[in-house]
Symmetry: D2
Subunit: 363 residues, 4 copies
């Protein structure tokens, strides 16, 4: 256990970075959804390595195969299994890491927990593991869009100290995809790309903040008290590799305001809908969506695996030095954008079905 | 569903702020743990209203009764049920709120989700709901301490812009409990108390940041990829009322560093243990505890219910004004400290049992 | 874990036979269901001890208190907690059983598993534990009836070798409740009562078979492959005390037929509904309800605790004799009838919500 | 949901009989277990079609590929994914069944539930789905055997009215595998084979009873009250295709005895172990294993798909006749034997880990 996410729309991922492949089983998908392999592949292409000069040069087409659950272009309601083979593996790059623990990586903790580790790569702690999440997220997004016109749009908000100016209420997928760093502020994007290239040349890495907006969320999603929407969203994105922080709405900055400044006053709009003037709540109140945009920010640390030499120890506890070989992203954020969107979509889709299950049988 | 937390050490809370009472059922507790009602009550007293001049004056002794699962002072391994009656309720204080939605509160979203609401108080969205969590947390803490000497210590780090100086590696429960705001920096605590009193007199409220350190955590806790330790910790604390942000280790600030600055280099200590020089990881790497202190920070927004008049609407959508009656905390943080500790203990105890279950049967 | 049942309509029971009380928390109940404490109490009265001369004389009114989740006569969608206090306890009756294990009872296995046991009664293995199930079942039944007119009717089909003649398609609750043994074949019921009284006078006990029919079940309930409807029904009733066997439809007898004899041929009825001519499937095909009556039979062994002297051992392993004191049912079946109905209702209600959740969002 | 089984040792199966393939993901497997693909394949070979003259002639090698979770011959503690491709599919055999519902099969109920169906075969209701269960069961068996010497042996006890004489306490796998019907009573096996061949020639089918004994079960497995061991075993085997009944220990026959006849008296054996003289309990008391052999019997109905012509309807409700084409088993029992063993092993392995998790952390 630990590799399954969701209650009704339920996703189980499998696979190491080196081995037969990685993939996902999606259980509980509503039947009769039209979905093509191309729609899933399109999201995987946003995530795949080697997509630009600022990502790892590992060459993986990451072509997915749908093994089950879809028939004549429609979901059957049975488990959907999707497989992506590992192709461009170079276990020899990891020879040294069989003994030497990468600082701030998962090598040492996997050994501590399991007493064994697939050292020919990052194993389950590799970002390759997120392939299954992104594939499942493509399906979740489609359901959300079809049922309620939901749009999930994530983007790079900040790389190190370079922060873009983005309006969450209007930002589009096209704007996000218009540059390789996925920051919809074009001028800022150029500087981010330059920084990542420069840092990469130094054998070092950088982190930053991904922001995610979800629009047209139905009211009523979320299951207090433990499965509050923000709690499940926090878990979802904090389960992605390299995350160190999570905010919804006003986040940490909101703690500097008084209640009278922070509260979102209500009004009734032209359609008779109850709305809020401001959105410091970030679309969720009391653990339940209120129909306003859901706004999240996620902190991604700088990539742990770097070419710069660092002090470390071997699995036998001997002190040594390591300058990591292999092909690693100097910055994970451009590829993290589709991962964040996927996790948000998985949470919302699950809660959509849960809400339907509990609250729609009695009229 | 939504009111159960944990997989092996499994907690289900129940109860509204007005009604028969609130409580918890703990399923999966290890048998033969010595635990007294006083130990549980001690934690509840840290959480209860009316404990000081800066908390709500609602007078609740919050005396707990153990209904099952404990026999002759020891746990039976069967469900432990604990009940706290609601005593000092004043439904008349909520008369106005039957129609008028409190801004940034859960009134409107509960109505949207369920089509019905216990309007005689906050219902499940009241902080009273956390009584069950704190009671269960008392038991989880005892297990963790008995098995591995684990210490969970939370404290108020910041109120609005007043931030204390605290050393997580040495701070003690006694220091935390030495003042009513639960900030172990005494000079700072005085200013915090003064601010809360002043804001309270104005009918307004403030928020801030709770920090939590857990020491002596066994290596190997956490279940990648979805149930990574930081992911479950994030969910746990983000399910508490009024939370808007979560950080582990370096958090958002860590995104301003490069990888070579951020990585925690390894060394071997005098006992032959593999340790890290720094702890930007916050005690978790790759979703698994590494034996270093687990350091969390949680943002709590200013209390939503305030006496100051605000614009809002009724449940019929009519625009109106509301100056909330009732007895509310001008700042939730002092009482949030035991809640945060409880949620952290629940996560760690559950993962302790899960790790034991999966990883200890084969020698 | 182990004390929670169901996925969306989720029931957690707690309590030992001796101690503060027994009860249940129901999470995930649809909001706005009208339900009164009397409706729940009515089912508990069918289950309570001392209701007739053929049940245990333990005198328990089993009055239930609703602690949460219901407001002004309607469910809130939040956890419903129901408590029944233990009143007429006689721990002294169990003095001898503190050391001596009752043959075929749970005393020895609880000691083996937990290393501790509430020996002042049956603890969690007492039939008192089923109070929470029956209370929750009352709510599940009401939902099922309101949504689809579902009727769940169980009855005593056989006591030892005395078997009643009952038509599942027409049997009514009134017929079941018309006599104290709950066998709707009146002539047979008299002989059953006589047998139970006679066996009870001998300090011995008897078992038998409960049959349960559920009518007006919506098509489409059940979640292959593991949560097939018959699988969840089997688990549900086999979790009741004293059960040794389960059948659906043709059961074991069906194995004596050929496929051409056993198959239920289809036809289209006057309303254009696809129906089966026979119902050897028992209302479920491929793990999914087909709209025909669901027919189950459950074997209950003779009560383990008897006054007749038997060979046994103490918890120290010393061989000894035991003639159990205390007030025990010479036959559990009359009181098992509402328990079976409750468990069947819990399964169906959970699957109703699950089906709604998965299969109704896409039109 | 519905396609995952178990709590700590957690199995998710996927795949339809026609499509990319079938398989399983096993999450929560203890790390460092030595397991080879041959050990898994050996169990799959016992299950595969075309293995003898009395099974379906569909030719499937059912060669399995391990995609993840095993490295250098040992489990990693991460999800183990196993895939078997579908090879010898003949969708044309099912052309007629696209419209015509097979009596007592899942065609109609899948349509009712999902509104769509992979009609080119049995889809998820095909026995092919059990490949994933059997593969996972092979691993569960190995863990159980390694940890406690547990042996799970199932066999055909009865085909229609031909019943074998078998001693559960001594029957061996070799005896079971010594003939193609898997009945360890050789004389009886010959008559069973003859009957199956004869019935198959008539285009008809037969059912029967599989019995399963598990020896050397550790005391203390099972989690009352809902996850009693017999309840989870009942669910496990009743989730297999074609099952109609379940018994443990004395089963339905036990209801004909009095309590004094039925109770298993205790004694202390030469090793000081508390044992029972008889085993009518079937190895479980109060939902917890008592160390005696666990004895189960499962009723399998005659195969629904037969060549004999039967009355049925089309999916449009028109009455028609159907003589099923395709390659179907005239009797599922010989191939059901490894399926039953697998499901029993999955339950026991899960409860072994659960027991370890809850009851071994406090000394």
């Amino acid at each position: 256990m630990g590799n399954t996410f969701g209650h009704l729309f339920r996703v189980t991922t499998f696979g190491e970075s080196h081995g037969g492949g990685v993939g996902v089983v999606i259980d509980g998908c509503p039947p009769r959804l039209e979905i093509s392999v191309e729609e899933i592949q399109w999201e995987l292409d946003r995530r795949r390595p080697g997509q630009s000069k600022i990502t790892t040069p590992r060459k993986e087409a990451d072509s997915c195969e749908i093994l089950s659950g879809i028939f004549e272009g429609k979901t059957l309601g049975t488990p959907i299994s999707i497989l992506v083979r590992n192709k461009d593996t170079r276990p020899q790059d990891y020879d040294e890491m069989q003994q030497k623990y990468r600082p701030s990586h998962a090598d040492a903790t996997y050994d501590a927990k399991y007493g064994i580790r697939n050292w020919q790569g990052g194993g389950r702690s590799s970002a390759r593991e997120t392939i299954g999440r992104v594939a499942a997220g493509a399906i979740a997004k489609k359901i959300l869009h079809q049922v309620a016109g939901v749009e999930v749009v994530a983007y790079v908000k900040r790389i190190k100290d370079i922060e873009g100016v983005v309006d969450p209420s209007s930002v589009t997928l096209e704007q996000v995809e218009s540059n390789i760093v996925r920051c919809p502020d074009p001028e800022c994007a150029d500087r981010m790309i330059e920084l990542i290239e420069q840092i990469g040349r130094q054998g070092d890495s950088v982190g930053g903040v991904v922001e995610c907006v979800t629009r047209n969320v139905p009211r009523g999603l979320g299951s207090p008290v433990f499965d509050k929407l923000e709690a499940d969203l926090a878990k979802a994105v904090m389960s992605l590799p390299a995350t160190k922080g999570f905010e919804i709405g006003s986040g940490f900055a909101g703690t500097l305001m008084t209640g009278s400044e922070h509260n979102d006053e209500y009004y009734t709009d032209e359609n008779g809908e109850i709305r809020t003037v401001t959105n410091r709540s970030g679309g969720v109140q009391g653990g339940i969506s209120n129909g306003e945009n859901i706004i999240l920010r996620i902190a991604f640390k700088p990539t742990a695996t770097i070419r710069k030499e660092q002090k470390t120890v071997t699995n036998a506890g001997e002190e040594t030095l390591l300058a990591a070989k292999g092909r690693h992203d100097p910055c994970v954020l451009p590829r993290a954008v589709p991962m964040v969107e996927a996790m948000v979509a998985l949470v919302l889709c699950d809660h959509l079905l849960r809400h339907q299950g509990q609250c729609s049988v009695l009229s």
